[in-house]
Structures are given as C-alpha cells and as structure tokens.
C-alpha cells in the first residue's frame, strides 16, 4: 500500500500544495491509513535530522557570498572584463552576456541571481546597441542556467547531501558541462547572427575606468600568486622540503611576474585596467575550488571563507557597501536558505518512505520492461527530467526524483556522479524552459517583455542546451574526467 505515496504525492503537487507539505502529507497519510502512526513520528525526526547537517550549511553561505558580491558591485566589473575579451566580435554584447554568465557562475550558484543581476545591466545596453529586446532577454535567460552548473552550485550541494555523494566531486564534474553550455550558446549566437541581424563587430572603448590604489596592489599580487602557484603545481620540479620548497615557489612567482611583464606590452593600458578590476571578484571561485581541491577546506568551510572574502572585498577593496546594507543581505540569504533547508529536511523524511516502500525496485522493474539497454533508458530518463524541469524548479525536482531514480541507474552501471550531473544539468536547463521556467519569468520582469515572446526567442538556445545534455549523457568523460584526474571519483 505504501507504494501509493508516489501517485498521492504527485496529486498533491499538481493541485498546488507546497512541495514541503506534499513531501510530508503523502507518506504521512499512507502511514496513518496503514496503522503505522508511530512511523509518522519518524517523519518528523527525519525532517529535523535532515536539517541538522554540517555539509548543508554551505547552502546559506554560498547564497550569502553571492548576495554580498552582487551588492558589492562586482557585476559591472565582470561585464566590462567580458566586454574587453569578446565585445569586439559580431554580436559582441550577446557574447559578453554569455561570458559574463560563465564568470558569474563561479561566484553565485543561482540562475535567478544571474538573470536579475546581468539582465538588469545587459538587456537595456543590448537594446541600445540595436538588439531586439526579446533576443536580449532570451540570451540572458538561456545563459543564466550556467550558474548552477559551474561550481559553486546550490543544487549540487542539495543533491550531494540527499544522495550521499561528495560535494567536491559534483562541483568538479560540473565545470566542463557548464563551459560547454556557454561555448555552445556562443557558437549559436555566431551562427544566427545574420538571421537576427546582430550588430557588426566594432572596437570597444572604455572611458573613465579606474582602479583604486589598494585594489591595484591586491590584483597585482593575486595574479602573480595564482599563476605562480599554478606553475609550481604543474611544473616537473624535484621533490623538496623546508626552505627549498619556498624557494621553488618564489621562483614560480618570479616566472609569473616575468610572464605578466611580457604580456603587458601586448595590450593597451585600458584593457589592463579592466582586467585588473575583474581579478578581485574572480578570485572567489579560485579560493573555493582551490581550497577544496587542495584539501585545505571542506566545501562548507570554503563557503564560509568565500563569505569572509566577499565581505573584505565589498568593505575594504571596492568600498561599495556599508554596515547598513548588511541586515538586508543577511535577511535575503537567510530567507531563501530557510526554505531550501526545510525542503531538504522534508526530502530526507520522504527518502525514508521511498526506501520503505521499495519504490525504486518496483520502478526499476517497470523501467526494465521498457528496455534493458542503459543508453535507451538514459534517453527516456532525460525526456522525463526535461518534462519535469518544465514545471518544477531544479532543487525540489532533485529532492523528489534523486532518491527514486539514482539507485536504479547506478544499479544499471551508470556512475553515480555522472548520473548526478545528467540530472542537475537537465533540471537546470528546465529553469529556462516554458511554460514554468523560473528564469523566463525573471527575465520577463527585468526586460518588461512578455514571457511568451521570450519563450519563442529562446528556442534556438534551448536546442543547444539539449544537445549538450545528450553529449553529457552519452560521453561520460565530459563530466567524469576532472573528478577522476583529481582523485574525487573512480
């Protein structure tokens, strides 16, 4: 009888019951009808135990870091940096929009934050340059889905926690797929340039771009330290200890400095200033991933360090924030994460009933009657996820479907991290699919364009994203190579 919790849950969901209540009502009702009232107490306990988790703390921290960075005025710096790199191409601002999303993704794990922050700046600028408003809104919405794919990513933290995977492995597995979505969108912009009559290539001018004294020195040091560290890690240096280790490291920093001096002559002073202004914000993903990969921090600690760094940047380097802004930022981050945490708690309770009901086994038997070929089954599951993504946000969808689908596919021999990425990318793309794609609504609000119009204009970009989903699905190396190389996956 317990297996009926799934259709009952779907019914609750369809009539509009909040997912949190649905996750508890469906199993609770059936437990009660089954005469298992005592197990309802277990549901409550699992909600509490599900929320009482150290890894889960990364969610409010990453949300807070994203809010701080955004409020601190880093968006304009990232956009200008993207403009310096790609603004001179045909359809330059559209390309800039995508590149900014890739860069922004390293700071914030949210597609909605990406759409509202970049959209409010780039959509009016694109319209001024001669792009149609619907095109500008569509590319903003389409590129914003990169946010939760490239680390840090809120939905990957949720997936990792609910399914007991490594957050670091999922973060690393998301890097290449995220960049692939971005590159795919850039190619599509170039291919459709004639059809959309995109503005011709032109030189980008930056007037009045300045750099504070402290920021100048901080960016000077950060660039050399980062490149020096990279050289030091990848160069085939002999094993050393003590002073010699420091000497080789300082040598690598000196090489990085020489490299920078050589590059300095190749570019204009304005270009250099724009790049330097982007270094401080772009240090955030380096700090997060470097810290996790280097074994210095756990993902939760990395998230807290990212918050501290964002505070330092906003208060002391950029000086764009005052203490008065803090309560509002903390409140926003707290409210959003409270809802997510409660949902994750309910998901853990739901997961218990999923296992008690043998739903994955029963569903697996049914799915295997459709086909025993994992490739066909993966195609079907992508179809299912895509349809679910059209109606439900990625986070709740992962919470609901993860415990049911993941065990089936891992039993079929699909790597659990690979499946996590398929699911995350697919459901994230769902954020930009009509009729219920959340970022479509945000893009509509920012651009004052109708959702239906944006939904039509976004179709070519969605086609690219669907193609990437299938590439990720059938070429596991795309997502698995980095986690394997770094020892986070087998």
């Amino acid at each position: 009888m317990l297996i009926w919790f799934l259709p009952l849950f779907l019914l609750f969901l369809l009539i509009g019951l909040p997912v949190f209540f649905g996750l508890l009502a469906a199993p609770g009702l059936l437990l009660w009808m089954n005469g298992q009232e005592k197990d309802i107490t277990l549901l409550y306990r699992n909600v509490y135990n599900g929320m009482d988790s150290f890894p889960l703390m990364a969610i409010p921290f990453f949300m807070l870091a994203g809010e701080l960075m955004n409020k601190g005025g880093i968006t304009i710096r990232l956009v200008q940096f993207s403009q310096a790199l790609m603004g001179h191409l045909r359809g330059g601002l559209a390309q800039v929009n995508v590149l900014s999303s890739i860069l922004f993704a390293g700071l914030s794990g949210s597609a909605v934050a990406d759409t509202s922050a970049l959209g409010s700046m780039l959509i009016p600028a694109m319209e001024k340059e001669g792009y149609t408003r619907r095109f500008a809104a569509a590319i903003t919405a389409a590129s914003s889905v990169i946010g939760p794919i490239i680390p840090p990513s809120g939905i990957m933290i949720i997936y990792a926690y609910v399914m007991g995977e490594s957050v670091a492995a999922l973060f690393l597995a998301g890097i290449v797929p995220g960049i692939m979505v971005g590159v795919g969108l850039m190619v599509m912009i170039r291919v459709t340039a004639d059809r959309y009559d995109l503005p011709a290539a032109k030189k980008v001018e930056f007037d009045g771009v300045e750099l504070g004294n402290l920021e100048k020195w901080v960016s000077f040091l950060l660039v050399r330290l980062n490149i020096g560290l990279l050289i030091w890690v990848i160069a085939p240096l002999p094993d050393t200890s003590g002073l010699m280790t420091w000497a080789t490291f300082l040598g690598s920093v000196a090489v990085a400095h020489a490299l920078m001096l050589a590059l300095r002559t190749q570019v204009s002073a304005e270009f250099r200033t724009v790049c330097k202004r982007a270094i401080v914000p772009l240090q955030t993903p380096v700090l997060i991933l470097g810290g996790i990969l280097g074994g210095v921090f756990t993902p939760t600690e990395a998230a807290a360090v990212a918050v501290a760094y964002a505070l330092f940047v906003a208060f002391f380097i950029l000086r764009t924030m005052s203490l008065r802004d803090l309560p509002d930022i903390l409140s926003r981050a707290g409210l959003t994460s409270a809802v997510v945490l409660l949902l994750v708690g309910a998901a853990m309770a739901f997961k218990t009933v999923v296992s008690l009901s043998y739903a994955p086994q029963i569903l697996a038997d049914y799915i295997l009657t459709l086909s025993e070929n994992p490739l066909i089954l993966l195609f079907l599951i992508n179809l299912l996820l895509f349809i679910v993504g059209m109606f439900l946000d990625a986070g709740p969808a992962i919470i609901i479907l993860g415990p049911i689908l993941a065990p089936i596919f891992t039993d079929l021999g699909v790597d659990s991290i690979h499946f996590a990425i398929i699911m995350s990318v697919n459901l994230t793309v769902g954020l930009a699919t009509p009729p219920m794609g959340l970022v479509l609504f945000v893009a509509a609000a920012v651009s004052k364009e109708k959702v239906e119009t944006i939904a039509k204009a976004i179709l070519p970009f969605l086609a690219v994203e669907i193609a990437v989903i299938f590439l990720i699905t059938y070429v596991p190396a795309i997502s698995m190579t980095i986690p394997r190389l770094t020892g986070f996956a087998n």
């Binding site: 369809l14 909040p18 209540f21 150290f54 501290a308 409210l335 994460s337 945490l341």
Partner: protein, 194 residues
Amino acid sequence: MGLLLTVLAPLSAVNAFMLRIGRGVGIVAIAFMVAAILIQVVARYLFNNALPWPDEAARFCMLWMTGLMAPTAFRRGGFVALDMISGFMSSRVAAVLSLVLLLISILILFVAVQIGFKEVTGFGGRFATASLYLPTFDGWFRVPRSWMMLSLFVGVVLLLVVNIELILRSLIQMMGGGDRLPDLDLPEDMQGAE
C-alpha cells in the same frame, strides 16, 4: 466577514511582530554561523587546534535560522509550489482550491506541533549536546539537545499561526473583502506581488 476581519487584524499584527523578531534573530544566527566556521578554520591552521564547538554551534544557529525565518517565507508565498492548475480555473474555484490547500497544510502542521512537543519534552531532548557549554555562576552548563530540537518545534508553531492567518485571509478574499485585508509586511521589492 466583519468577525473574520476582527480576528484577522490582531493576529496579523502579532504575526508581523513575531516574524520580524524571528528575522532579526535569524540574521544574527546566520552571521554567527559564518563567524563560528571561520573561527574553526583559523584555529585549525593558525593555532593547530581543532576546536570541537564551532561545528555544533553553527548547526545550532542554522536550525534556529531555519525555524525562525521559514515562516516569513511561507507568509510571503515563498514556499515552492506548482500554481499551474489554478491558472486554468475561474477565480472563485481557484480561491476554493487555495483554501483546501491551506487546510491540508494546517492539518500537517497540527500533527507536527503535537509530535514536536513530545520530541522536545521527551527522551531524546534530555540528552546534552556534545560540545556546547554556557557559562553560569556555578560553572559551565552543558546545553541540552532539546534547545536545538526546539528550533523546529518553534518553526512549526509559527508556520501554524501563519497558516491560520492565511486561511482567514483566504476566507475574507472569497467573501469579496480582498481590499480590506491588512498588509502582509512585504519588503519593498515584493510590494504588489501578493
């Protein structure tokens, strides 16, 4: 409708007041969470001391942040739900459906409050936390686990009270008194989105 409005006005004011306090405490809690984890990192790398308490203290704060802030999100319509079907319905049927959903929610919350109370006052709550101590005049007092468990109970109670308010609002709306409803204390960027 007059009676409903009379009941709603003070309830709405009490909710707005309690949730504002909840948000305030939640803000402090999230700030403390960050501070605790940073202290943990600094102590580990600078003082070679793996402190046991920051982990548990940060979780303590996270649980209270969730319990105190989620009701505000619920009141502002921030709980994720599919509202597709109501879009196809006439406004009257949609209002009835919305009321039915709120009634289902209140049933769940009512059961949760009962279980929550038993949990906090029961056997599990009598254990002490692993590493949280408070200074008192008589020495160090070990924080009981029930203080942590209380966070979800308080959250559920607040959700229940908010749910009652939302049911009253829904009933008044169905009776055509939507324009006489008190404000929901929404932030500036959410005004009009109700």
